[in-house]
């Protein structure tokens, strides 16, 4: 149904807290785990866990600076998902063509 699977992206963003963390990074740029924890309303280990999932979907990247780890969003990882959404437009038009063919074959 698509060239690149958007599944890891969907899975990562299915969780509202992860979505909020990702959106936070998208809006406000690079942030430390501490800063994200302050806004997330969940514990730091929970935030770290969410960041690991986002990282595995390539939605965020990190760098270490001293004792702090800084995270930033990588919105280009969303491209497969956007492609997938656009794909549905083509999918339904194609299906409507098949419906048209079926209706012509059916008894009135």
């Amino acid at each position: 149904m698509q060239q690149t699977s958007p599944q890891p992206v969907f899975r990562a963003l299915a969780d509202p807290t992860r979505r909020a963390i990702f959106e936070q990074l998208t809006r406000h740029g690079e942030q430390t785990v501490h800063a994200l924890t302050r806004q997330a309303g969940v514990s730091q280990p929970a935030v770290s866990k969410h960041l690991t999932v986002l990282k595995s979907a390539k939605l965020v990247h990190h760098r270490r600076a001293g004792r702090e780890t800084h995270y930033r969003a990588s919105p280009d990882a969303l491209v497969p998902m956007i492609d997938w959404l656009n794909h549905y437009g083509v999918f339904w038009r194609d299906k409507f063509d098949q419906l048209d063919t079926l209706l012509k074959r059916m008894e009135p």
Binding site: Q2, A20, T26, V79, Y88, P108
Partner: protein
């Protein structure tokens, strides 16, 4: 933070496909609700026109997609409206068909909405602001080019 997202105004990210078919609503309704007919234009399925009925569409798997769509019937309003959830690969949306008489034919409108949290939202009475979020995503992706 989810509170913050909830507070964002809801924008709908909906895919709409409309077409007028030169056939009666009755005939169109049959094509939408009789499982063997539905299989001929959409996909193999175990659909039944009963709210709450859980069913699947099954297509041939392709790389990156297992070919399975998990659905649950939400609305059956004969000759007028049909709606079911549409879940595939962890993404949930809602499909709504609306039939409207148009001259001697019938207009069929297909709306697929709520990529991907409208299902949860509809059931839990909450809005995660996902549509708004997707709007943002599209903007972000648009700016990448």
């Amino acid at each position: 933070m989810s509170q913050q997202l909830t507070a964002t105004p809801a924008e709908t990210r909906t895919l709409v496909i409309e077409r007028v078919f030169p056939h009666s609503p009755e005939k169109l309704w049959r094509a939408l609700t009789e499982s063997p007919l539905l299989a001929q234009w959409l996909m193999n399925n175990d659909f039944a026109p009963a709210p709450g009925h859980k069913f699947q569409f099954r297509a041939d798997p392709v790389p990156g997609w297992n070919g399975i769509i998990d659905c649950e019937v939400l609305i059956v309003d004969p000759l007028k409206q049909l709606s079911y959830t549409w879940g595939s690969m962890g993404m949930h949306s809602v499909v709504l068909f609306t039939l409207t008489p148009a001259g001697t034919g019938t207009q069929l409108r297909m709306e697929q909405s709520g990529f991907p949290a409208a299902y949860e939202a509809a059931y839990k009475g909450a809005t995660y602001g996902w549509q708004k979020f997707l709007g943002n995503l599209e903007r972000v992706v648009g700016e990448l080019a």
